[in-house]
Symmetry: C3
Subunit: 285 residues, 3 copies
């Protein structure tokens, strides 16, 4: 099963590189450059546009839409909704990254509003953010996962993810020590990555942008959003792991640089050799 | 002729480094940090300011204005117009980068509005963007040049550039496999650079910022905006080429870093040795 | 005395790393990514949020607030004031970086308004910016210190800083060839850093973010905002110095990266060995 997953993911990487899908982002200004560069590094093409006067047009020429609420404002919230609705109308996949959900009413209400007005294809966040969208009391510490939520194991975490996925009818990806990706039915676990990734800003955002890139390359043979989401999460974790090994003697500035390096150099052989991915009900790889 | 061009460009580099001109940017939030750093790397000084309540003042203390519509919004469009008019009033050169022209009505209308209300000194874009401003049917793929437009040769491309330059009375710089810089009369071609530059976000924006830096250092002996634009385009292409050689074994994260490195280390000797620049009607260097 | 200062600063570094304080930033979009990454590198946690609908909430869950007017706008000015007032109400320290004060009426008026409506804990800027807030005629060249102001020595500079500190009842930190940090009574000088730091955008902003990180870790045993400010300024200068040594053969792109590297790797032993810090009235270290 793991072997089949890995082959599907390698196939998705090839699709991204050959199709070069355009990925519309309405995202935050903190990590936007890294998001653009990681989208280019995996082989897709980013476009960032947030004005209400053009977001529908830009979404309509794109292959996927990534909505990231990291530095949301009254102005851009309306753009997120308009773009999301246009994407739904045209059957374009939507990735939502509810950055900091739980940290303020504005983030909470915006997350709820997007989820009620827009049909989201993949919801990606940390345990605190996804627990919040599940209506559970989530601790939060700004935009980072809380320590309590960080300690939630894969078992309890997967129940949270599955509940949200079933309720919203979407794929949910919780990234953390063990990443959990589920459509409410099938659940995939990934154990790549390193805890040091939380010491570089934007590794969560970049993961969502990779998920968007893979969603933009989906076709009839690609296994749907579950596999697209797992592809993004695996590429991010594995690249982070390789990048940390390459830069740990240097420091976190170099780590940031080598993450993009690793994504741009990642090949199927390395991915197959180093992926730690398994599906619930099947043995670990 | 090539030798004279190269000497003029080396002279421009010295002028930038000795004058350290202040370059006002109203630009996008995706690549703004790279634009600021490349302006510093060539020896000029960047200031980013986009609020309508200060853009005229900031332009008036600057030596050049760079308008980049990469993440335009209703708010900043008015600032671009106001700053552009102030620059015209004071005789300060204006560089326009019509990022994504052709991709949405908002970008199209904004480009047309700026070009009709502001006298632009240098218009720099890719073939799709400049073809759009020429009123030609341009393919577009978001903010990247379309594949069809990418295949347009230097001959046809230079006609497009010359037509736009004559109509607008400005210098037009189209960057691509062969860069074309023209004032409608003289046309300069540059063949430095590498296709890999399109795999790092902002190489177009950075090129426009370099053009702005050179425009800000113009004086009576510097050959005017044609030479300033050629200087920016040549420094960008050559630095990209050197940077790619230095980083290709590492990946695109390192490539981004080494582009700024290369600009900061570029000297006249290297430029003279590696520039592939020629003027229409003269032999290639 | 120097030894005691260094021990206090090393103690502050340990407090930041153990408490991991959340640092709310309302800052500019040019250097925001570097600010987030340097906050992570020193061991604190950044959150960037600027919408009026959430800034008070975000401040209230944070341990310090950093206000940076680098790309101020009508919209964010109101957010700065609201967040600052909330911080005052809750006893949360506020760091103000008046980027480009002196360059436009908007920056001047905003700086004055913040200083009159918000009780600032630490005011950090270059000599031109602080001279402006002192009501002195300051030269300015955009967001950089003017050449005339750069030549002002530590003696005259410390009088300016002390006057402002006494008038505003806050700590003032002027960074330059010799950094001056004063609460109007005690004055600390730091001679680390390199002039090359002005060739990378955001070294001033990053310094303010470090000061904010140390302010967020203050407690009864930490020596108050004077020591917190000195800690941020020393860590920035020393890291810049180490980073320049590590990258000078490469260029300014690598310099930017190695600044974050150096902060993330800085330990007490290196700090004690290389700090050039002394207090007025005591011998130099």
């Amino acid at each position: 099963m793991t072997r089949e997953l890995i082959e599907q993911i390698i196939g998705m990487m090839e699709k991204v590189r050959s199709k070069k899908p355009l990925i519309h982002h309405i995202t935050n200004y903190v990590t936007v450059n890294d998001c653009a560069n990681i989208v280019l590094a995996i082989g897709a093409s980013p476009i960032m546009a947030d004005d209400i006067d053009e977001v529908e047009t830009i979404t309509s020429i794109s292959s996927a839409l990534v909505i990231n609420i990291g530095t949301l404002s009254r102005r851009t919230i309306e753009s997120m909704i308009a773009a999301g609705k246009k994407a739904n109308e045209l059957g374009i996949p939507v990735v939502l990254d509810p950055v900091g959900a739980g940290a303020s009413s504005l983030r909470n209400q915006t997350t709820e509003r997007i989820l009620s007005e827009v049909k989201v294809t993949v919801l990606r966040g940390n345990m605190s953010e996804i627990r919040f969208t599940a209506g559970l009391k989530a601790d939060t510490k700004g935009v980072e996962v809380s320590e309590a939520d960080q300690r939630i194991g894969a078992g309890e975490g997967s129940k949270v993810a599955q509940d949200v996925a079933r309720r919203l009818g979407c794929v949910v990806a919780i990234t953390g020590p063990t990443d959990i990706i589920t459509d409410g039915d099938r659940t995939i676990y990934i154990e790549n990555g390193t805890r040091h990734m939380s010491n570089v800003t934007g590794t969560g955002c970049m993961c969502s942008s990779l998920v968007g890139s893979f969603c933009g390359a989906m076709d009839d043979t690609s296994g749907g959003p579950l596999i697209a989401a797992a592809s993004g999460v695996l590429v991010m974790g594995l690249s982070g792991e390789l990048a940390y090994e390459a830069s740990k003697h240097l420091g976190y500035g170099s780590f940031r640089t080598t993450i993009i390096d690793a994504v741009s150099k990642l090949d199927g052989e390395t991915l197959a050799a180093k992926a730690r991915i398994y599906e619930a009900g099947f043995g670990i790889s």
